[in-house]
Protein backbone atom coordinates (compact mmCIF):
# COMPACT_ATOMS: atom_id res chain seq x y z
CA UNK A 1 0.00 0.00 0.00
CA UNK A 2 1.34 3.38 -0.93
CA UNK A 3 0.66 6.10 1.55
CA UNK A 4 0.05 9.52 0.15
CA UNK A 5 3.46 11.22 0.16
CA UNK A 6 3.94 14.72 1.45
CA UNK A 7 6.66 16.53 -0.43
CA UNK A 8 7.80 18.30 2.74
CA UNK A 9 8.08 15.00 4.55
CA UNK A 10 10.17 13.77 1.63
CA UNK A 11 12.72 16.55 1.95
CA UNK A 12 12.86 16.32 5.75
CA UNK A 13 15.23 13.33 5.43
CA UNK A 14 18.96 14.21 5.13
CA UNK A 15 19.78 11.27 2.81
CA UNK A 16 16.98 12.25 0.45
CA UNK A 17 18.21 15.82 0.42
CA UNK A 18 21.74 14.57 -0.38
CA UNK A 19 20.27 12.51 -3.25
CA UNK A 20 18.52 15.60 -4.64
CA UNK A 21 21.77 17.58 -4.49
CA UNK A 22 23.61 14.77 -6.32
CA UNK A 23 21.02 14.36 -9.05
CA UNK A 24 20.69 18.13 -9.47
CA UNK A 25 24.15 18.21 -11.08
CA UNK A 26 23.45 15.39 -13.56
CA UNK A 27 21.03 12.55 -14.29
CA UNK A 28 22.21 9.33 -12.61
CA UNK A 29 21.34 5.65 -12.41
CA UNK A 30 20.23 4.13 -9.08
CA UNK A 31 23.57 2.29 -8.87
CA UNK A 32 25.61 5.46 -9.38
CA UNK A 33 23.53 7.26 -6.74
CA UNK A 34 23.88 4.38 -4.24
CA UNK A 35 27.67 4.30 -4.69
CA UNK A 36 27.81 7.75 -3.07
CA UNK A 37 26.31 6.47 0.19
CA UNK A 38 27.36 3.99 2.88
CA UNK A 39 23.66 3.14 3.28
CA UNK A 40 22.51 -0.29 2.04
CA UNK A 41 21.37 -0.35 -1.57
CA UNK A 42 17.71 -1.27 -0.75
CA UNK A 43 17.54 1.73 1.59
CA UNK A 44 18.71 4.02 -1.21
CA UNK A 45 16.15 2.39 -3.53
CA UNK A 46 13.43 3.15 -0.99
CA UNK A 47 14.53 6.80 -0.86
CA UNK A 48 14.48 6.98 -4.67
CA UNK A 49 11.01 5.47 -4.69
CA UNK A 50 9.71 8.11 -2.23
CA UNK A 51 11.33 10.96 -4.17
CA UNK A 52 9.84 9.63 -7.40
CA UNK A 53 6.39 9.21 -5.86
CA UNK A 54 6.28 12.84 -4.82
CA UNK A 55 7.59 13.80 -8.25
CA UNK A 56 10.81 15.39 -7.05
CA UNK A 57 12.64 12.88 -9.26
CA UNK A 58 11.68 11.62 -12.69
CA UNK A 59 12.75 8.35 -14.25
CA UNK A 60 14.07 8.26 -17.79
CA UNK A 61 14.78 5.07 -19.71
CA UNK A 62 17.99 5.14 -21.72
CA UNK A 63 18.74 1.78 -23.36
CA UNK A 64 18.85 -0.76 -20.53
CA UNK A 65 19.49 1.85 -17.85
CA UNK A 66 17.02 3.94 -15.89
CA UNK A 67 18.29 7.44 -15.14
CA UNK A 68 16.94 9.70 -12.40
CA UNK A 69 16.44 13.37 -13.25
CA UNK A 70 15.51 16.19 -10.92
CA UNK A 71 12.09 17.77 -11.51
CA UNK A 72 12.88 21.47 -11.32
CA UNK A 73 9.20 22.53 -11.41
CA UNK A 74 8.41 20.48 -8.31
CA UNK A 75 11.52 21.84 -6.58
CA UNK A 76 10.33 25.34 -7.37
CA UNK A 77 6.97 24.60 -5.70
CA UNK A 78 8.79 23.90 -2.45
CA UNK A 79 10.70 27.15 -2.64
CA UNK A 80 7.43 28.98 -3.40
CA UNK A 81 5.44 27.75 -0.42
CA UNK A 82 7.32 30.02 1.96
CA UNK A 83 6.70 33.07 -0.26
CA UNK A 84 3.27 34.15 1.14
CA UNK A 85 4.75 34.11 4.65
CA UNK A 86 7.75 36.13 3.47
CA UNK A 87 5.43 38.53 1.62
CA UNK A 88 3.32 39.01 4.78
CA UNK A 89 6.38 40.06 6.80
CA UNK A 90 7.73 42.15 3.95
CA UNK A 91 4.42 44.08 3.83
CA UNK A 92 4.52 44.66 7.58
CA UNK A 93 8.12 45.81 7.52
CA UNK A 94 7.51 48.08 4.54
CA UNK A 95 4.75 49.66 6.58
CA UNK A 96 6.99 49.94 9.64
CA UNK A 97 9.55 51.73 7.50
CA UNK A 98 7.00 54.19 6.09
CA UNK A 99 5.45 54.85 9.54
CA UNK A 100 8.86 55.57 11.08
CA UNK A 101 10.00 57.75 8.17
CA UNK A 102 7.15 60.13 8.98
CA UNK A 103 8.40 60.29 12.55
CA UNK A 104 10.27 63.50 13.38
CA UNK A 105 13.95 62.82 14.23
CA UNK A 106 13.82 65.21 17.20
CA UNK A 107 11.37 62.86 18.86
CA UNK A 108 14.08 60.22 19.31
CA UNK A 109 15.35 59.72 22.88
Amino acid sequence: MNLRRDVFQAISDPTRRAILVLVASQAMTAGAIASNFDTARPTVSKHLQILTECKLLEQEQSGREVYYNINTNKMKEIADFIEPFRKMWDDRYNKLESVMKKYKPDKIK
Binding site: F8, I82, P84, F85, R86, R92, E97, M100, I108
Partner: protein, 160 residues
Protein backbone atom coordinates in the same frame (compact mmCIF):
# COMPACT_ATOMS: atom_id res chain seq x y z
CA UNK B 1 10.18 43.37 -7.28
CA UNK B 2 12.76 41.81 -5.01
CA UNK B 3 11.55 41.44 -1.41
CA UNK B 4 13.82 43.00 1.18
CA UNK B 5 12.78 40.45 3.78
CA UNK B 6 14.75 37.19 3.89
CA UNK B 7 13.60 34.02 5.61
CA UNK B 8 15.77 31.11 6.58
CA UNK B 9 13.78 28.01 7.53
CA UNK B 10 15.82 24.84 7.26
CA UNK B 11 14.04 21.55 6.59
CA UNK B 12 13.29 19.48 9.65
CA UNK B 13 14.14 22.24 12.13
CA UNK B 14 11.80 23.93 14.58
CA UNK B 15 13.09 27.46 14.20
CA UNK B 16 13.24 30.15 11.57
CA UNK B 17 15.07 33.42 11.07
CA UNK B 18 13.65 36.53 9.43
CA UNK B 19 16.08 39.28 8.45
CA UNK B 20 15.42 42.68 7.01
CA UNK B 21 17.50 45.80 6.43
CA UNK B 22 15.77 49.14 7.00
CA UNK B 23 16.35 52.56 5.65
CA UNK B 24 16.01 53.85 9.23
CA UNK B 25 18.41 54.63 12.10
CA UNK B 26 18.51 51.78 14.62
CA UNK B 27 16.87 54.07 17.25
CA UNK B 28 13.76 54.46 15.08
CA UNK B 29 13.67 50.75 14.27
CA UNK B 30 13.73 49.95 17.98
CA UNK B 31 11.13 52.61 18.75
CA UNK B 32 8.78 50.94 16.26
CA UNK B 33 8.96 47.85 18.51
CA UNK B 34 8.84 49.66 21.85
CA UNK B 35 5.88 52.03 21.53
CA UNK B 36 2.45 50.38 21.47
CA UNK B 37 0.88 53.12 19.33
CA UNK B 38 3.54 52.58 16.65
CA UNK B 39 3.32 48.78 16.78
CA UNK B 40 -0.44 49.07 16.28
CA UNK B 41 0.13 51.15 13.16
CA UNK B 42 2.48 48.82 11.34
CA UNK B 43 0.80 45.59 12.46
CA UNK B 44 -2.61 46.73 11.22
CA UNK B 45 -3.88 46.17 7.71
CA UNK B 46 -7.15 47.01 5.92
CA UNK B 47 -8.64 43.70 7.09
CA UNK B 48 -7.59 43.79 10.72
CA UNK B 49 -6.83 46.54 13.19
CA UNK B 50 -4.15 45.65 15.69
CA UNK B 51 -4.46 46.86 19.28
CA UNK B 52 -2.03 46.56 22.17
CA UNK B 53 -4.30 45.85 25.13
CA UNK B 54 -1.33 45.75 27.48
CA UNK B 55 2.32 46.62 26.90
CA UNK B 56 5.04 46.70 29.54
CA UNK B 57 8.27 47.08 27.60
CA UNK B 58 10.73 45.91 30.25
CA UNK B 59 12.29 42.76 31.71
CA UNK B 60 9.53 40.68 33.36
CA UNK B 61 6.96 42.87 31.62
CA UNK B 62 4.17 41.37 29.57
CA UNK B 63 2.06 42.27 26.57
CA UNK B 64 -1.35 41.40 25.17
CA UNK B 65 -2.50 42.22 21.69
CA UNK B 66 -5.64 41.67 19.68
CA UNK B 67 -6.88 42.28 16.18
CA UNK B 68 -10.38 43.23 15.18
CA UNK B 69 -11.98 43.03 11.75
CA UNK B 70 -13.87 45.82 9.98
CA UNK B 71 -17.00 45.01 12.05
CA UNK B 72 -15.13 45.27 15.33
CA UNK B 73 -15.11 41.54 15.91
CA UNK B 74 -11.97 40.23 17.64
CA UNK B 75 -10.30 37.85 15.19
CA UNK B 76 -6.99 37.31 16.92
CA UNK B 77 -5.61 37.45 20.44
CA UNK B 78 -2.02 36.93 21.45
CA UNK B 79 0.20 37.51 24.46
CA UNK B 80 3.62 36.94 25.93
CA UNK B 81 6.28 38.14 28.35
CA UNK B 82 9.55 40.02 27.87
CA UNK B 83 12.73 38.42 29.14
CA UNK B 84 15.07 41.07 27.77
CA UNK B 85 14.26 44.61 26.67
CA UNK B 86 17.54 46.35 25.83
CA UNK B 87 17.01 49.63 23.92
CA UNK B 88 18.44 49.61 20.38
CA UNK B 89 19.91 46.15 20.86
CA UNK B 90 17.62 43.28 21.73
CA UNK B 91 14.16 42.12 22.74
CA UNK B 92 13.65 38.55 23.92
CA UNK B 93 10.04 37.57 24.38
CA UNK B 94 7.59 34.70 24.29
CA UNK B 95 4.45 34.71 22.18
CA UNK B 96 1.32 32.64 22.27
CA UNK B 97 -1.73 32.84 20.07
CA UNK B 98 -4.90 32.33 22.09
CA UNK B 99 -7.30 29.52 21.15
CA UNK B 100 -4.83 28.03 18.68
CA UNK B 101 -3.06 24.71 19.22
CA UNK B 102 0.30 26.19 18.27
CA UNK B 103 2.00 26.34 21.65
CA UNK B 104 4.35 29.05 22.87
CA UNK B 105 7.15 30.42 20.73
CA UNK B 106 10.37 32.12 21.81
CA UNK B 107 11.41 35.20 19.82
CA UNK B 108 14.92 36.70 19.90
CA UNK B 109 14.78 40.04 18.14
CA UNK B 110 18.10 41.81 17.55
CA UNK B 111 18.60 45.36 16.32
CA UNK B 112 21.85 46.28 14.59
CA UNK B 113 23.16 49.63 13.45
CA UNK B 114 24.55 49.43 9.90
CA UNK B 115 25.17 53.13 9.19
CA UNK B 116 23.75 56.28 10.84
CA UNK B 117 20.63 55.91 8.71
CA UNK B 118 20.32 52.19 8.10
CA UNK B 119 19.79 49.23 10.38
CA UNK B 120 19.16 45.51 10.40
CA UNK B 121 16.49 43.52 12.20
CA UNK B 122 16.93 39.80 12.88
CA UNK B 123 14.09 37.78 14.39
CA UNK B 124 14.98 34.28 15.43
CA UNK B 125 11.85 32.31 16.41
CA UNK B 126 11.91 28.90 18.05
CA UNK B 127 8.70 26.84 17.98
CA UNK B 128 7.63 23.87 20.09
CA UNK B 129 8.05 21.44 17.21
CA UNK B 130 8.90 21.15 13.52
CA UNK B 131 5.22 20.45 12.79
CA UNK B 132 4.08 23.67 14.50
CA UNK B 133 6.66 25.73 12.61
CA UNK B 134 5.64 24.28 9.26
CA UNK B 135 1.96 24.79 10.03
CA UNK B 136 2.56 28.46 10.83
CA UNK B 137 4.59 28.93 7.67
CA UNK B 138 1.67 27.67 5.62
CA UNK B 139 -0.94 29.84 7.36
CA UNK B 140 -0.73 32.86 5.05
CA UNK B 141 -1.56 30.40 2.25
CA UNK B 142 -4.89 29.62 3.89
CA UNK B 143 -5.85 33.29 4.01
CA UNK B 144 -5.92 33.30 0.26
CA UNK B 145 -3.58 34.94 -2.14
CA UNK B 146 -6.14 37.32 -3.63
CA UNK B 147 -6.68 38.91 -0.23
CA UNK B 148 -2.92 39.35 0.13
CA UNK B 149 -2.80 41.02 -3.26
CA UNK B 150 -5.65 43.39 -2.35
CA UNK B 151 -3.80 44.28 0.80
CA UNK B 152 -0.57 45.06 -1.01
CA UNK B 153 -2.48 47.24 -3.42
CA UNK B 154 -4.09 49.18 -0.59
CA UNK B 155 -0.87 49.59 1.37
CA UNK B 156 1.00 50.74 -1.69
CA UNK B 157 -1.67 53.27 -2.68
CA UNK B 158 -1.45 54.88 0.76
CA UNK B 159 2.31 55.34 0.54
CA UNK B 160 3.45 58.62 -0.84
Amino acid sequence: MELKTKIKAEDGKQDLTITREFDLPVELLFKAHAEPALIEQWMSNPYATSKMVKFEGKKHGSYQQESTDANGKVVFKGSGVFHEFIPNKKITRTFEMENAPLGVQLELITFEKLTDNTSKLTTHTIYESVAVRDQLLKMPFAQGLSMAHDRIQEIMSKLK
